[in-house]
């Protein structure tokens, strides 16, 4: 575990590392005849970054949508932060939603609001009594914390580049100081430098804000660089969960192909070289 900070402090009594924060059991999802998940099990432990990988169409995003309640599964149980998520009414679910932040694939920023106003939306929704000047300050430091330049605050999403839009989406996801962060392909469509910077930002924020991260990605560099564990989706279920080294020891054709393909080897070599250099 990389999370060394909270030890010995009394203020983390309720947040034990290793405690299960998301538990998915026997999840089944289908669209018409097409079965996406069948008997899928997955655990996410507090304080870790779990990478979720899988070929296109294996239902990575559907899994995330099921966990956050945007998609009602056909069968199965989902518990988030100790609360059952299936069949909850909206009022109850709201209390849990407040404790997570979600970065959608394309940012999903509200196009009629500026970046800073986007960050204010969740805060306004849950804490309407916070006064506008303080609200603006909070939005301001969240924008800065996500690595955006100061002049990005009053800009509209359409005026931002792809990488900045992702950072703005991250700022909104962090608006309520969530315990849990869902990231759907955060580095897709970024240049390698931008992607590496984004990885670093996530790792950094995770350390300092005590986040638990559920990260869907295709990016091998991201997997090597920041993920504590990796879950592999294949054949409608999670076929393996573990560190990359553990996964490499398995004899699963897709996993071998994925990590030992030319790109996988390059990413792993790049990381090792980076370590030696540092």
């Amino acid at each position: 575990m990389t999370d060394e900070a909270p030890a010995s402090t009394p203020d983390t009594s309720s947040k034990k590392d290793g405690e299960i924060v998301i538990s998915v059991r026997g999840l089944k999802n289908s669209f018409g005849d097409q079965i996406i998940h069948d008997g899928l099990d997955l655990d996410l432990r507090r304080g870790e970054i779990l990478g979720v990988v899988g070929g296109s169409g294996t239902g990575k995003s559907v899994l995330m949508r099921s966990i956050i309640g945007l998609q009602t599964p056909d069968a199965g149980e989902i518990e988030v932060l100790g609360e059952n998520m299936i069949g909850r009414d909206d009022v109850e679910a709201k209390n849990i939603r407040r404790r997570w932040g979600i970065l959608f694939q394309n940012g999903a920023l509200f196009s009629t609001l500026t970046v800073a106003e986007n960050v204010e939306v969740p805060i306004r929704e849950y804490f309407p009594f916070i006064k506008p000047p303080l609200l603006d300050e909070i939005a301001g430091y969240k924008v800065a914390m996500s690595g955006l330049p100061a002049d990005a605050g009053p800009k509209y999403p359409s005026e931002l580049s792809g990488g900045m839009r992702k950072r703005a989406g991250l700022a909104r996801a962090l608006a309520l100081d969530p315990e849990l962060l869902f990231l759907d392909e955060p580095t897709a469509g970024l240049d390698p430098i931008g992607a590496a910077a984004f990885d670093e930002l996530i790792e950094n924020l995770k350390q300092r804000l005590d986040l638990t991260v559920f990260l869907i990605t295709h990016d091998l560099d991201t997997l090597w660089a920041i993920c504590d564990r990796v879950a592999v989706l294949s054949d409608q279920k999670v076929v393996a969960v573990g560190t990359i080294e553990e996964l490499l020891a398995l004899d699963h054709p897709w996993i071998q192909e994925y990590f030992n393909g030319p790109r996988g080897r390059a990413a792993s070599a790049g990381l090792k070289k980076g370590h030696r250099g540092a």
């Binding site: 500026t114 804490f127 916070i130 301001g140 100061a150 009053p154």
Partner: protein, 368 residues
């Protein structure tokens, strides 16, 4: 959330000590801010009994330190870390774009509006030109003609509108007949109801109502479809492949509207006459045969021409406004909605203005 931390303000001993007990998080942000603001300088904030802290809590402490030189004591590793984190992120960030003073802004908006209107007019002329050129290319090189696209548009604009336009004009026929009959009965001239139905349906209402319905159904769809394609960069993709968006998107829609409008108008005339005929048969006891015979006597054939000549012009205006507004879409999805509304409003407005022009014109050429 549930917990309600207690706070103690120790006023004794010169310094004002604000001791936070329990949670220093966003849930308590408003009250914490109020309480800190209420304390006098010099202020000391004691964090030794904080159980949970988040960045908002840290920010409130950081603010007090920054603005009032408050002293922080008893911070834990985690709270120190968060304080450092927010201090790092403390940069002046504006939330909204700058707003100018009201009179200046009004002037600016007026200027923008004039410039925008001028640009739109020039753009419309350019668009019209591009469309005409595309038509020319298609006429000289018939192989470029997209039969499938055009037939598909015919179906969407024409065939699928039959139901609603038929129903609408049928009902309008009944309304004209009923209103006419009520008034004309007062001086025993109810047979003239047929004149009213025949002339107003054929000459004016059928075409006008059809144009309004086509503008609402198809003009809006043109703007929304093309606008969405602009946002998803489909139009750019077309251009780079070498397909002219005007040829592929605008020309088929234009042709569909121009060809379908007269056909739909004729159909609307028939439906309106049918509705009126049924009403006079049921309510006034005029049998269908008499109705048809009377129609032939009182409705000159020029009325039909008046109705049918206007139709393709209206169709052209509707397609032009729809496609042009669609092409103007830029940026975000909200724009699609604005442009679609503009397309419908403009086309209906232009149709009615043109209808007035036509009315005067046809009267002057003697088609009364």
């Amino acid at each position: 959330m549930g917990e309600d931390p207690t706070r103690r303000d120790d006023q004794g001993g010169g310094d004002n000590v604000y001791r936070v007990v329990g949670a220093l998080t966003i849930t308590r942000a408003a009250s914490t801010q109020r309480e800190i603001d209420a304390m006098d300088d010099p202020l000391t904030i004691d964090l030794s009994e904080v159980e949970r802290i988040d960045t908002v809590g840290a920010w409130l402490v950081h603010r007090a330190v920054r603005d009032r030189h408050a002293e922080v004591t008893g911070e834990t590793t985690q709270s120190r870390q968060l304080l450092e984190q927010v201090a790092e992120a403390d940069r002046p960030v504006r939330v909204r774009p700058d707003q100018r003073a009201a009179p200046l802004r009004a002037l600016e908006e007026l200027g923008d509006w004039v410039a925008e209107a001028g640009k739109t007019l020039v753009g419309l002329l350019g668009f019209l030109g591009a469309t005409v050129i595309s038509f020319g290319i298609i006429v000289t090189r018939p192989r470029r003609f997209r039969l499938n696209a055009v037939v598909q548009r015919f179906d969407l604009v024409g065939v699928r509108a039959l139901g609603i336009i038929g129903l609408m004009t049928f009902l309008i026929g009944i309304v004209i007949a009923q209103q006419g009959a009520v008034q004309l009965q007062q001086f025993g001239a109810e047979v003239y109801t047929i004149n009213l139905i025949g002339r107003i349906s054929v000459r004016e209402l059928a075409t006008l109502m059809t144009a309004i319905m086509v503008a609402g159904r198809s003009g809006s769809a043109f703007a929304a479809q093309i606008g969405t394609m602009k946002i998803t960069e489909e139009i750019d993709a077309m251009r780079t492949i070498g397909v002219s968006p005007t040829e592929a998107l605008v020309v088929p829609r234009m042709m569909a509207a121009v060809v379908m409008m007269p056909l739909l108008s004729f159909y609307a005339m028939i439906m309106s006459l049918l509705g009126g005929g049924i009403f006079v048969w049921v309510a006034l006891g005029i049998p269908p045969l008499t109705y048809i015979q009377r129609l032939q006597e009182v409705v000159p054939i020029t009325d039909l021409w008046v109705g049918l000549i206007k139709a393709p012009v209206f169709g052209f205006i509707i397609a032009l406004a729809g496609c042009f507004q669609g092409m103007l879409v830029e940026g975000n999805s909200e724009e699609v909605g604005t442009r679609t509304t503009a397309a419908v409003v403009q086309s209906i407005f232009l149709v009615i203005v043109l209808d007035a022009v036509f009315a005067v014109f046809f009267s002057n050429v003697g088609w009364i």
